[in-house]
């Protein structure tokens, strides 16, 4: 029944890398939640273990089905995700002034996380048919633009600016990967430089302030600016060797906001120092290069583009999250894959890994 080549071509390296990072993530999360003084946080750790078990099931599912069938399913997946995004705006649960969560019985899900994958799959379907060495023309870019802009608007409405920007970045990376025609690119760049100031002119005062604070947290020294300072102190104070596991003081005293989700890298860097954070960053770099290598070895466009899209998603998450904790990026609610706490984050990441395994494993189907 099972083709023996499935076993032969199975990407044990990728799986090993994933398991390694996930274990490091669980250790870091343990430190982030265990030393806080507020009791219920500790249960988060066990919840995360449960999420990982769910994540493993989802990962297995997403590499068992032939990824080529996603080509057919793309429109349905996309529409379902958009419906979820719309319903979250209507029925969603308010948490901290935003509607991001959809309550389905005992679990609450964040449809914006799934939307990222839906966008990648539908863009892949489109690009795999259109791509040519000359690049995409403006007319060909219209559909991908619409595919991106709809979830973007729906997510901005929640409001969740971070995830919305992430979708644009992922979609942009995939589009640039399949190449934009030189004239069209020139046109787009000019249009943006002209339109930018115009849009700025039409924004209301408070919107401008919000964007400026977003770009420069120092404008808000009591909120984002303070978090950045504390995060930088946490990371820097780790120095080369780190303060040691569970010895981080910034984290323990709950000086860091969201230390188990968005700022978990600060906890990790404080306790493990340069050596530990370097290890984690190198592991992420290897994972991303590995993902691109899968794209490299895949012999048909759908698989290649899908692998690039999925890898781009992991890349942007890592880059923005780590950059943010070190004060290089605006503060946005972007999680660090495998390490941040959160069911939606774990599951989407595991889907990504599942898809990469999937593409890697089936590459023989297209060998000459």
């Amino acid at each position: 029944m099972i083709d023996r080549r499935f076993v032969k071509y199975f990407d044990w390296g990728l799986l090993g890398l994933t398991v390694f990072i996930a274990c490091l993530g669980l250790i870091a999360l343990y430190s982030a939640v265990i030393s806080t003084t507020v009791a219920p946080q500790k249960t988060l750790y066990f919840k995360q273990l449960i999420w990982y078990s769910v994540g493993i099931i989802v990962m297995v599912l997403s590499f068992l089905i032939n990824y080529k069938s996603l080509d057919r399913w793309a429109p349905i997946i996309y529409i379902a995700c958009m419906l979820l995004l719309i319903s979250v705006l209507i029925f969603g649960k308010h948490v901290g002034g935003a509607r991001r969560w959809l309550i389905l019985g005992p679990v609450s899900i964040q449809p914006s996380e799934l939307a990222k994958i839906a966008v990648i799959i539908s863009l892949t379907r489109y690009f795999s048919r259109r791509a040519d060495t000359g690049g995409l023309t403006l007319r060909e870019l219209l559909t991908p633009f619409m595919l991106t802009v709809i979830p973007f608007i729906l997510i901005v409405k929640q409001p969740d600016l971070g995830t919305a920007m992430l979708i644009v970045l992922i979609a942009g990376s995939v589009t640039v990967f399949v190449k934009i025609e030189r004239r069209s690119l020139l046109f787009l760049v000019t249009a943006c430089t002209v339109a930018g100031p115009l849009v700025w002119f039409f924004l209301k005062g408070y919107q401008k302030r919000r964007i400026l604070t977003f770009l420069n947290p120092d404008r808000d020294p009591l909120g984002a600016g303070y978090h950045i300072i504390q995060s930088k102190i946490a990371i820097g104070s780790g120095m080369i060797a780190g303060k040691g596991f569970l010895e981080g003081t910034q984290n323990a005293l709950s000086f860091l906001p969201e230390q188990h989700t968005d700022f978990i890298f600060s906890v990790l860097a404080e306790e493990w120092g340069l050596m530990g954070s370097l290890l984690v960053l190198c592991l992420f770099l290897s994972l991303i290069i590995w993902g691109l290598n899968i794209a490299y070895r895949c012999r048909e466009p759908f698989g290649t583009i899908l692998a690039v899209g999925v890898t781009a998603m992991i890349f942007w998450h890592v880059f923005i999250n780590v950059g943010m904790t070190m004060g290089l990026m605006p503060i946005v609610g972007v999680t660090l894959p495998f390490i941040s706490y959160g069911g939606s984050s774990v599951i989407t990441t595991m889907i990504c890994i599942g898809l990469l395994l999937n593409i890697s494993m089936r590459r023989f189907l297209y060998e000459q």
């Binding site: 002034g97 003081t249 000086f255 691109l292 012999r299 290649t304 950059g323």
Partner: protein, 610 residues
């Protein structure tokens, strides 16, 4: 060129992937450099800052906007309150510190310890509040022994201060500590536990203007927890000041006049809808909500049968009684069922079906036309007008006059009152409307319910020639520096459903109420000033239903409510007043003098300041 030549093949994709790999490597290189910079180059300095968690955040409260009357008289401001709290990290040894502190601020050490225990969950660096508003003597003691009290922090907070006890309490409302539901509701994103927010009245409705914006500063502290360097400061933005439409002098008069009574007084500028005074009695001291009240104080407030916490001007729905005759007269004249000359004979009662409906005047009024009927409040005349109109036409006019719906005043908990119709009764009770009930409604009894505010808006509309204005309590909102943010403008809510002629006749009748020798409101007469008005006596028990009570021996809680609506001067009205005295019996005797004094106070003052 033909497209197939450009088909993207595997080789082409491979080149693209390799480029992507270089991009990723570049991006990670940036991250590594930054990591190296923070952990190696800046590592020492940042490690030092982390040792004592040197960088802390202190928040500064905005000062809440003040509230003034229309002439700029200060009604509500803020006073400093000295709050003691403790930072556990710095307070060592804790036992010693608490013992000493308890002596200075007169709170038992065990009570202080239990407060600390309740707050253990939070960070050791967060101040735990121990006692608010310790007063200047205790403050001096704590300040003198500052060095014996490590970790003890005194915060100067501004606390709401209502300058005159009970002044316009129902209008201004009060502040109180935010509760957990309000915090979770997301309506107060700026607030945290322990903050005070408006809970009632203007303080609540205009919370967003009054509140201001929290500020704060990032500071570096030493091992003792003392600030050694201020890194960044964001100034708190004070809340906006609010000018109300009320006139403090008039408000004071109204409150004095209602002293020891239960009821409501409200006055309005009939040409703009600005509320000049708004009183509900009995009242309460707003300061106890801010300073914290004992359980007993709260019990007294809520168990008082005279409902001091209720704003009777907008929440009290009473039968409008004879003041409703204004509407019956308007409907009758406009619909043409009577005209100025129509007279009915009043023998003191009116027979309808097999029941006899009495006039309040046993001996009867003799021949009455509409003007005399208003002036002497003849029930028999209006029974017949009501009968000719029918309940649904009458109800239509009552609704058009603003009854049965909200006036739209900017205050919470407004009641809509009730305008009964045949369909309403059928729906409500299942029993068909009886013709006799129309007669009761025509004189303002029966199912009819109206709030003093609705009657005030109606009286103002009669006075100004038909414009129903939304009552306004806000004159303007100014920034702390004095520039105007909002200047309120009068809001037309509708027009009375009558032409010029009916108005002339009604106004003549209302003028006679006060000025004719037999008018029911003679008591409101002021020499040298022409006042118009209408009395009302709203029965609590049906006049004929319970024969064992004659008018004389009724217990207080069954006595009728007294109404008086008035405006003056009759020709060029400057003020409209509504008075309700609960269980005050006759409109003329208890409510009339209050209306007279309000008008006198207001117009006399106007003469002095032309």
């Amino acid at each position: 060129m033909t497209k197939y030549l450009k088909t993207a093949d595997t080789e082409w994709y491979k080149q693209r992937v390799i480029r992507a790999m270089f991009c990723v490597a570049g991006a990670f290189f940036i991250l590594l450099i930054r990591l190296f910079y923070l952990q190696v180059i800046q590592g020492e300095e940042l490690r030092r800052l982390s040792e004592n968690n040197c960088i802390r955040l202190q928040s500064t409260e905005p000062s809440r906007g003040m509230i003034f009357d229309r002439n700029g008289t200060l009604l509500v401001d803020n006073r400093p309150s000295f709050d003691v709290s403790i930072i556990l990290k710095d307070a060592k040894p804790i036992k010693d510190t608490i013992d000493k502190l308890s002596k200075y601020i007169n709170v038992s050490a065990s009570e202080l310890m239990s407060k600390i225990e309740n707050n253990r969950t939070g960070s050791h660096y967060k101040p735990i509040p121990l006692k608010k508003d310790i007063g200047r003597d205790a403050l001096a003691a704590v300040e003198v022994h500052k060095f014996d009290l490590p970790g003890v922090v005194i915060d100067v907070k501004s606390r709401r201060h209502y300058i005159e006890r009970q002044r316009a309490a129902h209008l201004i409302g009060y502040l109180s500590e935010i509760n957990s539901q309000e915090l979770e509701s997301g309506k107060y994103p700026e607030c945290k536990g322990g903050d005070y927010i408006g809970k009632f009245g203007v303080e609540k409705i205009f919370e967003s203007f009054l509140h201001g914006k929290r500020g704060g500063r990032q500071v570096e502290v030493n091992v003792m927890g003392q600030v050694v360097r201020i890194i960044k400061t964001v100034d708190a933005q004070p809340g906006h000041n609010i000018y109300l439409t009320i006139d403090n002098t008039l408000q004071k008069t109204a409150e004095m006049l209602l002293k020891d009574k239960a009821g409501a007084v409200a006055a309005m500028d009939p040409n703009t809808g600005h509320i000049l005074a708004l009183t509900s009695a009995p009242s309460f001291d707003q300061n106890i909500f801010v300073d914290g009240m004992s359980h007993k104080q709260w019990e007294t407030l809520v168990s008082n049968p005279l409902r001091p916490l209720e704003n009777k001007v907008i929440q009290g729905a009473y039968p409008p009684a004879s003041t409703f005759k204004i509407i019956t007269a308007m409907a009758g004249l406009e619909e043409g069922v009577v005209d100025e000359k129509t007279t009915f004979y009043c023998p003191g009662h009116y027979k309808y079906g097999n029941r006899v409906y009495r006039c309040w005047k046993r001996g009867g009024h003799g021949n009455v036309n509409v003007v005399k009927a208003l002036a002497e409040s003849c029930d028999v005349f209006f029974y017949q007008v009501g009968q000719k109109l029918g309940i649904d036409r009458l109800a239509m006019y009552a609704k058009a006059c603003g009854l049965g719906s909200f006036t739209g005043i900017d205050l919470d908990h407004e009641e809509a009152g009730l305008v009964p119709t045949a369909a309403w009764k059928k729906r409500r009770t299942g029993i068909a409307w009886q013709g006799g009930e129309t007669l009761s409604v025509a004189i303002g009894q029966g199912y009819n319910l109206a709030t003093p505010m609705q009657m005030l808006v109606l009286t103002s509309a009669v006075a100004n020639g038909g414009a129903l204005y939304t009552p306004l309590v806000l004159e303007s909102v100014n920034t702390a520096e004095g520039s105007v943010v909002i200047q309120s403008k009068r809001r037309l809510a509708g027009r009375l459903p009558a032409g010029k002629q009916p108005f002339r006749i009604i106004k003549k009748g209302l003028r006679e109420v006060v000025n004719s020798s037999k008018g029911t409101g003679r008591i409101a007469h002021i020499d040298g000033l022409s006042v118009s008005g209408k009395t009302g006596t709203a029965q609590v028990v049906g006049r004929s239903k319970d024969p064992k009570w004659s008018d004389k021996n009724l217990p207080d809680h069954l006595k009728a409510h007294a109404w008086f609506v008035a405006y003056a001067p009759s020709e060029n009205p400057q003020i409209a007043v509504t008075v309700v005295v609960e269980h005050g019996e006759h409109g003329s005797s208890s409510a009339g003098p209050i209306a007279r004094e309000i008008i006198r106070t207001y117009l006399k003052k106007d003469e002095l300041q032309p």
